[in-house]
Symmetry: C2
Subunit: 240 residues, 2 copies
Amino acid sequence: MISVSPVEGLPEIGEGDDLAALIAERADLADGDVLVVAQKAVSKAEGRVVWLADVEPSERARELAGREDARRHEVILRESSRIVRSRPPLVISETRHGFVCASAGVDSSNAAGPETVVLLPLDPDASAARLRERLLELTGAEVGVIVSDSFGRPWRQGTTDVAIGLAGIRPLNDLKGTRDRAGYELHATVIAVADELAGAAELVLGKVDGVPAAVIRGVDARGEGSARELVMPAERDLFR
Amino acid sequence: MISVSPVEGLPEIGEGDDLAALIAERADLADGDVLVVAQKAVSKAEGRVVWLADVEPSERARELAGREDARRHEVILRESSRIVRSRPPLVISETRHGFVCASAGVDSSNAAGPETVVLLPLDPDASAARLRERLLELTGAEVGVIVSDSFGRPWRQGTTDVAIGLAGIRPLNDLKGTRDRAGYELHATVIAVADELAGAAELVLGKVDGVPAAVIRGVDARGEGSARELVMPAERDLFR
């Protein structure tokens, strides 16, 4: 059995907050647990917040924004290495980390105020690793950490939470070479375990009532890796 | 807290098996639980198995198959309404239900034998509804049912399980109009809860050791709907 428990009672997170300490005070962590933290909380603690008043939109940002605030689209352009699709004001782009998602992960909901936007962490794996180390220091527990964000998917409605950063976790479970109980070898079966863990955590996170973290117990996902392994390599990608 | 528990000890499923009864004997079901059943078990119980010896491949199937068995690709073509991308032997297509996935959901791993393939249920929502009704009859519990399958995603490595059929479940949670705790309205936030539930179940399903069902407790996803709501409408789809 797996359990997924929300970390409740966290305050609104601001720059410089010791997020690991705030979580450690409210969660009972044990070795092997997976802590999933919403990207917005991590980004805010890291000060990845931009005041729109400081942003001068380019012509390209105005085109992409349509009737919406072009300053936000300017930030999206700065966070993008490549625009994949656009239909103003919607932009799907590749972030500098290699993730393909809406608005380069730039978020205005639940930000520090109406005139701010929140960016993805500069290096979400490093953010996860820092949380993991600090939690070990504070609690003695060796936990895996996932930084999650809500991504849309082509062809399917609605977002699911996925892993954009991780530490102490094996992101993929490659079943190639294993056999099913009928004795047949499984081919091409690689499961994005870290994304399923992020999605499972979302079920208790609550965008509205400010629960930005959850603890998953009972899954053995221990290992090493990077959330960048969850990005399809260019040569295997039929949708570039 | 949410719990996700595997339904253990199920036998290999064959055509005509009373899958709901086999599950009811092995799971403790309560009102509001969500039962997730892997598509392959549902399809096998429904006899959606094709013997490749009965299939004559067309020229198009031979082209798509490359060096692989063109009879399997002939089945994929028959299950597809449209080929979205192909690079032999890989085919991404739209199924007759509207799902976009690899091989039109035609599965050869863990099938009834090396010379057979398993197709998606004809109407996976109806499959879920029948399981739900039969479980109510057998156990008295009003459960939600999801029929799940492992889908790949553009740009991301690995599969995650998603809902291809459902009953007694609200597939999407639309937060539009709700406010976060800073008082700002959430826009464009629709969460694919049924897909996250399917992914959470996958974490205990086990492709290798034959656990094709899981029970999720503690999520209030009760409602009405269809897995087809999880398909992006053509007019909103930037990737058609």
